[in-house]
Each structure stands twice: as structure tokens, then as C-alpha cells.
């Protein structure tokens, strides 16, 4: 069980890593094409500036919210109980864990630790043309699924040391699906979605 959960964690990290690689590859490809055609002498930063597309304040806000929730959800699912990581889990801080505000501290702590990636990753959206439907899904469905994942993780913590595999997998799906949704502009760029 534990090994499978680690593999599933690895899958999430792999998807993240793959998206970053694809994003960088796309930018590099555009950069080289533009340099060939223009014979110009300009930098990547300059190109990025020219490639930027405004996505809208609401969208940006929701993406920031979604990525913050994604990291919180991942921590709640994998690092809350000792079921997966015996020595690296939230219950190793018993005084906080047993306090009524324990999950708040845990959630805020995770947001603090993942603040930089949660803020940097949404910046990639400004280089992609995102279809309206996908944008709506990303804006509404992703936070909803992530909230569901967090709630399921809280439930798993509340019933610990009992476990419920079905709930855990549901929570994982509710974490994986928004991840793919949030990274879908990058993956779709392989078909030429990048501006």
C-alpha cells in the first residue's frame, strides 16, 4: 500500500516536472525560431515580454488560489497521518495536531513553505492561449476538486488510526485531476497552443 502511494506521489511530481520541461521547451523553440527569422539580437526576456497575454484578474486570482490549495491538499493527503510517512507527518507535532486550530496551522504552514512555487507557476499561463471552456473549468472546477481533496484528507485524519482506502483514492483523484487541469494549457501547447 505504502509503495503504491509513493508511486502516486511520484506521478504527481512527474507531471509537474513534465509540464515545466514542456513549457521551457516551447519557449526555447519559439525563441530560436524568432532569432532565425529576424536575425535580430534580442534576449529571452524580451521575447517573453512580447509573448505575454493578459488572462484576467479573476483567472489569475483563482489560479493562485488553486495552486496554493493544490500544495495544501497534497500535504494533507500524504503528510497528515503516519500512514505513509511514519516519521514525516503532521501528527509528529501532537500538541498542534490535537488543538482545535491544528489544521489551520498545518494549512498555513504548508502555504508558507510552498509560497514561491505557488506564486511562480501561475505565471506560465500568460504565455498560452487558453480556450474559454478550459479556462472556466480551471477557474471553477480546480478549486472545487482541491477543496474536496482537502476535506477527504481531513476525514482520513479524523478517523486515524482507522484507514479508508476508497476515500484516500478519491482524495488522490481529486488532487490529480485539478493538477492535470491546471497544467492543461502547457500540455495542449504541444499541439501548437502557444502563441
Amino acid at each position: 500500500m505504502m509503495r503504491l502511494e509513493l508511486l502516486l506521489l511520484g506521478l504527481i511530481l512527474a507531471i509537474l516536472g513534465l509540464a515545466m520541461v514542456i513549457h521551457k521547451t516551447c519557449l526555447d523553440r519559439i525563441y530560436h525560431r524568432v532569432r532565425k527569422t529576424t536575425d535580430g539580437n534580442f534576449e529571452m526576456e524580451e521575447l517573453k515580454k512580447h509573448l505575454e497575454l493578459p488572462q484576467g484578474s479573476n483567472f489569475n486570482t483563482m489560479m493562485l488560489l488553486s495552486w496554493l490549495l493544490f500544495f495544501v491538499g497534497m500535504a494533507y493527503l500524504f503528510f497528515q497521518t503516519p500512514a505513509i510517512f511514519q516519521n514525516w507527518n503532521y501528527f509528529q507535532l501532537p500538541r498542534i495536531a490535537s488543538a482545535w486550530y491544528g489544521m489551520i496551522i498545518f494549512g498555513w504552514g504548508v502555504m508558507g513553505l510552498t509560497f514561491i512555487p505557488a506564486v511562480v507557476i501561475p505565471e506560465i499561463y500568460k504565455y498560452y492561449i487558453i480556450h474559454g471552456t478550459i479556462k472556466k473549468m480551471m477557474t471553477f472546477l480546480a478549486p472545487l476538486l482541491l477543496t474536496i481533496s482537502i476535506l477527504l484528507s481531513l476525514y482520513l485524519g479524523a478517523i486515524y488510526p482507522r484507514t479508508d482506502d476508497m476515500i484516500w483514492y478519491c482524495g488522490y483523484f481529486a488532487l490529480l485531476a485539478p493538477l492535470i487541469l491546471l497544467l492543461s494549457p502547457v500540455f495542449l501547447s504541444i499541439k501548437g497552443g502557444v502563441r
Partner: protein, 480 residues
Amino acid sequence: MKRLAACMIVVCLLLPLAVQAAGVSPSPPKSTPSSSGDSSSGTTKSGGKKIVKLDLEDLIGNLEKWSQDDPDQYEYLKKLLYIPFVPPKNYSAPTVLIWYPNSTENAKITRNEKLDIYAWVKNENPIEVRSDVYLYLEAKGPGQENFTRIGSQRVILANEYSSKSNSTTRDWSGLTPFLDSREVGNATFRIWFNDMHSTYCTDTMYSEPFHQNNFFSVLELDLVNSPPKVDEESVSVEPSRARYNDPIRYEARFADSDGDLINVTLHLLDDQNKEIVNYTQEVPSGTNVTFAATEYGLFGERDAGKNFSYMYTYGDGLDSNRTEIYLGPSILPSPKIFVSDPNVEAADENRYWWQNYRFSLKVKNPDVSNLKIDLYTSTPSHPNMYQKTKTINASDEVQDVIFDLQPFDVSDADESFSYYFRYSETDQNSREEMGGTSGGKINPKIVKYPIYSMVTVVNILAVLLAALACGVVIERRFYR
């Protein structure tokens, strides 16, 4: 010797009588022995001369009478009759030396060491000239001014010498002459002997001290001593907490490498380390010394509640030492309260860590006002954790002391626990605490709030709102 001297005097006395009978007058015969005139003696006349016949008893009686009546004349008579014994011509005194085998290895001796010392005697005189030799071994210990005889007399008859070397030996084996010595230092041996002609001592008869191989005119040894030692691990007082009339025993083991008897003194000290009393035993080296408190009457009822300490002093007569001061025993105070039935019950059968637990103890406290009872719980995460104190007053009735509280936190989940009550007076078991253990483990459940509780809603809302607020602020700050 006395008998021999008496015979000589008698013989000598007979001579002048014989001379007188022959008409020779000894000078100065100021007095003549009077005849007793009894039937056993008599006078006869031969050729006009009066002959007095004395038997032996008359002679002895006269001598005794003379010695009392006229001591001066008697002494003069003795002087006249004394004939000095002249040794035969070419007679030489025997050579006597101390033979101490392995003298180099055995130059240092202890008080308990058994010494084997020999007299080596060589007599060059022909057997018909030799006389008997009487020998004594004499020793002078450290600090002593005079020699004293040790062992018994040894005698060598004229025919007991080796025909080849004209020598023989006599031994004094297994001697422990300095057993009671209170000093260490130089120990000197010599041989006193008499060859019927003269008396000699080997330390003075030779012009120079003789020492060759293991032969000595004067044997000098070094009397040494090793101080006794205590086996510190063996020092104990058992039991260390006891009632005053319990069989408390002090035990220790001391060893002396010389095998000396060891004087061991137990010093009983009060809590200020002042000596209360001491008792001494003499024990062989290596054996346990035991002081039983009941045998010596060390403790009484007045000592209840007091703490004592103790130490030993020990010595072998030459060296003495002391141990460090050891604690113990603590004499338990007399019981003031009676306690029973320690118990704990969880609020329900789930036994969650966040629940209240009800600890109870029955206490009969007829005398003590303001009796304090502390509750402690013990888990692997929180060993001996103080919880609460309750105070009760004296009562003739048995009182239930109850603590209803939440003693655990989340780190105690899935652990067993124990608890104990500690009180300010001594109970019927001479103890100040009583406790018990939990019947089972604390429930392993960690989070006490159900998913549908307000606390959970507040938690999730707080996280969501914080994330949203972060998103809004960051978007406005960095994305525009």
C-alpha cells in the same frame, strides 16, 4: 644447676672437715659447725683426737643454720670453698651462627609470616672435650630495646655433631615473634648459648658481625605491613528504607594482604554526619563483617522518620583507614494515614486521550489536617507528570479522594499509562505513595474533532480564505 651447685658445696664442705680430722686447721676457722648430737651422728676418739662424724642431713642442716645465723661467715665459707671450673686445655668455644635460608627473598617479613630460623653450630673440640650446648633464639622487634627469647630451648649433646664437618643445626620453625607488634621497622635476631663453660650471644661474641650467604651472626629483617583495604562494592546497609525494628544489617568486606586480623568499627552518623555510636568487631581478612541493628540496638522508635548515614574505620593494629560516608538507612516514619483502593476510570469505554479520567483513592486520615495528595500520571511521552493536588482534613470516616481531569494529550494516544498518588504523610505501608496501572491502552485515535464538526468547518474555511486572500493580494501586487 642449683642441684649441681648444692652438691659441689657439700663436697667442698666435706673437704675441710676431712682436713680438720687430719689435724690441719683451715684459716680462719672462726666457728665450727655444731653437732646436732642426734642418734644419726656421733663422736669417736682415735689417737686422742676427737673425730666428729656427720651424715649428710646434719651437714645440710648446719649449712642452713649457718646461713641464717651468721650470713657473713657463711659467705666467707663459700668463698673459701669455691673452686673455679677450668675448661680442659685446648678447648675452644663452638661457633654458632644463625642460618636463615633464602635470606634475600625473605628479608621483608610481616607480622603473620611464619619464620624458619636455624642455629648452625660447629664444635671443633674432640668429643671427649665437648660439652653440651644450650641454645635460645632471641629477637628484638621494632622499637624494643632488649632481646627477648622466642621459641624454646634447643640442646646439642656432645655426640650430636656430624663426624665429617663437626657441625649440626637446630631449628625454630613456624615462629611468629612479632604477631602483636605495633610498629614496623628493623627486627633483629641473635642466638644465646651456653657451652657449660661460658655464655655467649652471637651478636657480641664475634669481633665483627658475620654475614655470608644465608649465615649471620646477627640477623636483621625488615618488618613491614600492608594496610587493610575495603571492598567498596561490598559496603551496604539493607534494607536502606526500613522501620526502626526491621532487621537492618550493615555489611562490608575488608581484606588484608598480610592476613592480619582487622579491627572494623562501624560509626553510625546522624543526618548531620555527627557520630551517634560506634561498635567494633575483629574479623579475619576477607570475611564479611556484619553489624545487625537489632543485635546492637542501633535504632529505636524515636528514630522513626530520620535519615542516617554511616562509615567504617578499619585497621590491622599498624595502619588504619576510614571509608567514605555512606547514606542509609532511612528509618520510615510511623504510619499516620491508611490508604487503599487506588482506581482510575475513563469517561467511557473508548478511552480517548482527550477524555476525562476519574482517579480515586480511599483515605482514612484520623489525625492529619491539611493532608496533601498529589496525582501523577506516567506515559512514555510524559513520565511522572504532575496533574493536581487535593487537600483533605482529618476525619474518622474513610474519605474518597477523587481527581476528575483530562490527564493526557495526543502523544499519549495508543499508549498504556500508570498513575500514583503521593501524599504528605506516611501510610500503613511506610510509604508516601500508592498507585496502579491502566487496564488497557489509551485509544489510538488522534484527532478528536469529527469531520462534520464546527471546528473542522472553521479549519477548512480558514485555510480556503487564507489561500484566496493570498491569491488576491499576489495578483494585485505582482500580476498587474
